[in-house]
Symmetry: C2
Subunit: 194 residues, 2 copies
């Protein structure tokens, strides 16, 4: 065969990139076809429709990448330091375009949650998974933290602020606001200690 799996992966990769940059609705299939250099027939052989393609991108590209991104800092010996280093590294290493582009999960959440149930439940599941990941690892070192903290609440707070910061940056087209918010976020996180 003419490596069907490779074709499928190429479609997924390109689609993930396009959806990340333009959002799901604004991403046109013809654009994906052009970049993949395949025909419409090829795409509809592998995916039943645009929505199913979107779900596949979410499950096979975004979700694994998302977990792979957040797991290391949170599961580090010291999750407080891990998270601060994680965010600081973003400020330092990510390009302006990357930051302004934002997190695919948050972008899709804003765009698709109210429109499509399929996306909504997938996004919700990821957010809950991430929240659990952060909260349990904070609980793990609770003896080093302030008493009386609601770890789930703190975890949601951190993620909300992070996503809000990249949202803020979108209108200014530079990292400055992102850096500011991240700095303050790190200050907040460190303050959780003792």
């Amino acid at each position: 065969m003419r490596d069907a799996e490779l074709t499928r992966q190429k479609i997924l990769t390109v689609s993930a990139d396009e959806i990340h940059k333009n959002g799901f609705t604004a991403t046109s299939l013809s654009c994906i076809l052009a970049r993949c250099d395949i025909s419409k027939g090829a795409l509809y052989h592998h995916f039943t429709n645009k929505l199913e393609l979107g779900y596949a991108v979410f499950e096979e590209v975004y979700a694994p990448a998302f977990i792979a991104l957040w797991q290391p800092p949170v599961e580090a010996e010291d999750p407080i330091a891990g998270l601060c280093d994680f965010f600081s590294a973003m400020s330092k290493n990510m390009s302006c375009d990357e930051i302004v582009c934002g997190c695919p999960l948050n972008n899709l959440c804003q765009e698709m949650s109210a429109i499509d149930e399929g996306f909504r439940i997938r996004i919700l599941a990821m957010q809950q998974q991430l929240n659990l990941l952060i909260a349990t690892n904070l609980a793990r070192v609770s003896h080093q933290l302030q008493p009386g903290l609601d770890f789930s609440q703190v975890a949601y707070f951190i993620v909300a602020t992070f996503h809000g910061s990249s949202s803020l940056s979108k209108s200014s087209l530079n990292k400055e606001l992102f850096d500011k918010v991240i700095k303050e976020l790190c200050r907040y996180i460190r303050q959780l200690k003792r």
Copy 2:
């Protein structure tokens, strides 16, 4: 005349509502026309195109409402208490739909900043205006606050978290996450004191 100004205002009001609910791109003119019970000719008599209608909605509906919303809590005698009460009142009084729908400014920021310069500069201006409003009022009571705070940074942090919290809520379709993040945000804000 057949009250042209009234027609214009009706178009603006309905458009503001539709754009708030569906976003700018997904809002169709035909839907606006139907709700206003006017013809396409009427709309294009008052506005040159969809984009200009969007700008008008932003400047004449969203921007004034936005300032009217944020100014009182921030300019209160005690802005710390003002902001906490402001956010708590949102948790208490706003309907689930309102929260999930989110702030028009943040929604447009996410959707339109990367697509259209006209929207981007207007959104940016609003964000800077809000930041200045918060930062200067924090500076006003700086003697009551922790030393060494960067007020602009704190102001951006607060707004980022607030917008992030409503973003989070969109996937769960309820206020729970919003309430959690707002609670933690108030805790953070109160911690600025002393």
